[in-house]
Point group: C2
Chain length 337, copies 2
């Protein structure tokens, strides 16, 4: 049995969490892959109720689980997710972007993944105000850069795809920090002679994601650029409705949708749970690898194809042109699993 | 007579410069707006020949001119343009993105402008290596933030458009520096009650530029985000072929295309000079305002409409689906002026 900790989140978070629980329970009952789920609070509501966006008992429960699922969190998101990423050393943020049938992608042949360094850059919270001026430290280390580069090349190796890693940076302006990042990636690339390696400035990348997204395979980049480029690439393949993310460390991982808490549609039972459910698929793959459990891969595959078959046949939520509610769409999935 | 300094650049730079000179000379001869042009060297070639990407006599010639035109520069671009922006305090980088007929824009109703702070952020070159780690200082000041905010609101006031300013930042992560930027913009917004003001995180903006670009009017942002988002928005309206930029200070201004030196097509007489020629139009508007010279506006208008009428009737360069060479396209413009 896998112990899953589940942060139920704010806004549409609780609805997506209900959907995820129902899918995990169905897998448990019908497909004989066993889960124990612990619901946890973190985010705006937790902050209001306990004074802490990330309560201590939430952290300890996460640490006792095999993997964490995190629904979107509101305004206090940074106090939850940035802290967890660093605390648990979840150094690789993996964000696939793929054109799926019947989604409004810019092209139908996009299949890429952004591998975002998840622990440093401008996300370490080292900022100071000096009267009329302020300064934030952008920290890049060789060790973290090499570690994420290695992850990117391993990812490229496993994909049946273009076998290409694109290192995105702005070393023409940030010669020292992005110089270090680019150099680390270049060095790691030498250990992977079968994978082609290219470098691209972040501004050019923002452009090329629209101009020729089909050319990308694996993109490796620093934290903040990864944040920006992954939101962009999600939209390039048709929006945040189908955009899962994995935060992966050497011993633990946390899965979440790329999108936020969407307060404007919260409580209406219309949110698209697909991004969150596809992050379950990412979790199953990760558990499968970690525990050499082929059952996890099988079930993950089945979950993904169930979602896409439904979307393909027009069974979908409002945001992507359908008429199904969150719970109706979830029920279709559990019925078909 | 207006004294124009012209950095002829690298790659396709010299070809674009020939095109620009021929347009300026035609304006001088046919439309009776007088120019004196001084060609200057800066960039990779200058570095090779003089040991300096930005030679001293180039700088002094620029300072003696009324405005500077800068063709794209190669690998040493940052040593030229970032230095000039800061040295001449050209604090506002203005990058319009507009859908034009017969250009492959994502939609045909996009009309926005990015107002990018041009003197600070991660562009001040303050970077240090500390063994295995490195750090870059991201510097944001209240004074520079207010100055660019004011420029953005003044821009919005003059546009016959949505009268909206969107302030783009990442203050949920960079609370101090982007907190300062957001606060400065919010304060300045109070002086402009007729212009609506909204804030957006940079990742959401990267997404919304594809999802609903028609909603934007004026975007104001910090230096590096402006770099990324303006390349993205150029592509949203169909590519860098028609993307001019103005670097504006209180007393001087420099005009350039958003695109780079494109070494892959250099010397072939196929580059699209439109971005550079449209930056002449931006220069004419700026000279017109500065010198209360209505002739400049008239001529600028004429130049812009000449370019668009040609493109509309299929007279265009290869990059946007035409068959004209750089010089053929330029000749069509000068014939029609
Ligand atoms: C909520 C925010 C701190 C976070 C980030 O910037 O990493 C989010 O945008 C994301 O991409 O997961
Ligand atoms: C060449 C480079 C330093 C420059 C920048 O980043 O500002 C360019 O990309 C631009 O946008 O003008």
């Amino acid at each position: 049995m896998y112990k899953i900790s589940l942060i139920t989140g704010d806004g549409i978070g609780p609805e997506l969490s209900d959907s995820a629980v129902s899918v995990l329970e169905t897998i448990h009952d019908k497909l004989d892959l066993k889960f124990g789920i612990t619901k946890l609070s973190a985010g705006d509501k937790a902050l209001e109720q306990t004074g802490k966006a990330l309560p201590d008992d939430t952290v300890s429960a996460i640490k006792q689980s095999d993997a964490c699922m995190k629904a979107p969190v509101g305004e206090s998101a940074a106090d939850v997710i940035v802290v967890l990423r660093r605390m648990l050393d979840l150094y690789a943020n993996i964000r696939p972007a793929k054109s799926y049938p019947h989604m409004p992608a810019l092209r139908d042949d996009i299949d890429m993944v952004i591998v975002r360094e998840n622990t440093e850059d401008l996300y370490t919270g080292k900022e100071f105000s000096l009267g009329d001026s302020s300064v934030a430290l952008r920290i890049i280390s060789e060790q973290a850069s090499k570690r994420i580069a290695k992850y990117a090349f391993e990812t490229a190796k496993m994909r049946n795809d273009k076998k290409k890693v694109t290192c995105v940076h702005k070393s023409n302006v940030m010669r020292v920090t992005d110089g270090m990042f680019a150099k680390a990636c270049t060095e790691v690339s030498k250990d992977y002679p079968d994978i082609s390696f290219e470098q691209m400035y972040v501004d050019a990348c923002a452009m090329n994601l629209i101009r020729q997204p089909q050319e990308f395979d694996v993109v490796v980049t620093t934290n903040l650029f990864g944040d920006i480029l992954s939101d962009e690439s999600s939209q390039v393949v048709g929006g945040l409705g189908m955009a899962p993310a994995a935060n992966i460390g050497d011993n633990f991982a946390l899965f979440e949708p790329v999108h936020g808490a969407a307060f404007d549609i919260a409580g209406q039972n219309i949110a698209n749970p697909s991004s969150f459910l596809l992050s379950i698929k990412m979790m199953l793959d990760w558990l499968g690898t970690k525990n050499s459990d082929s059952k996890c891969f099988e079930v993950g595959q089945k979950l993904e194809s169930t979602i896409f078959n439904l979307v393909k046949t027009g069974v979908k939520t409002k945001d992507i042109g359908g008429d199904k509610t969150t719970s109706e769409f979830t029920k279709q999935i559990t019925d078909n699993l």
